[in-house]
Amino acid sequence: MKINVLAFGVAKEIFGSSLVSLELTNDATIYNLKYLLEQQYPRLKQLASYMVAVNNEYALPGDTIHERDEIAIIPPVSGG
């Protein structure tokens, strides 16, 4: 399946875009997604940390990704 990944803050600069498209297998997990992204964008690994959100909720590494899910890369937040 093809999924779109939203990027914010420093992740947008690492991707060079606020949205990247990826091809994932149908049973892919957050863990798989992060592995793929880090292969393609090694600077992700230099971040202090980063989370993945699925449909506006923080996701766990084992969570499965479904087609049409809204996926976002959440680098360390710094609001307030």
Binding site: F8, E13, A48, E57, P75, S78, G79, G80
Partner: protein
């Protein structure tokens, strides 16, 4: 919920309208936290800040924090306003206001809300210095 007001806005935040909303005849104590853009970070002059938000999730996370405040303390109203966009030194990125019958709850909930907001709400701040720009907290 009419006891909660969450706003994410690219317009200037207005302290007085926050106070007007939070005050009520039932409350005895109100605690208000106002963040302001400081003119320096670790001694280095700051020119401006840019705030970017993942808007729907930021609002959803702020609503969760407000809900947690109601579960943890006997508070009456909770307000969270956060700016997006470019802010100059002295401008206000965030206002938190909490009303309660007694001040303990208002102080503790207000503190909890700003501390948790800084940990969980997907908003990012880029500081502009004379020699470049830095996404705050991005790198170790």
């Amino acid at each position: 919920m009419n006891n909660t007001q969450i706003v994410l806005s690219s317009e200037s935040l207005n302290v007085q309208s926050c106070i007007d909303w939070i005050m009520s005849p039932e409350s005895g104590g109100i605690d208000v936290f106002i963040g302001t853009v400081r003119n320096a970070t670790k001694g280095k002059p700051v020119l401006k800040l840019d705030f970017e938000a993942y808007e729907p999730m930021a609002i959803s996370e702020m609503e969760k924090i407000a809900q947690q405040a109601f579960e943890k303390w006997p508070v009456q109203k909770v307000l969270i306003h956060h700016r997006t966009g470019t802010l100059q030194v002295g401008e206000v990125p965030v206002i938190i206001a909490v009303s309660a019958a007694h001040r303990d709850a208002a102080f503790e909930a207000c503190r909890y809300i700003i501390d948790t907001l800084k940990q969980t709400v997907p908003i990012w701040k880029k500081e502009a210095f004379e020699d470049g720009e830095v996404w705050v907290a991005a790198h170790p």
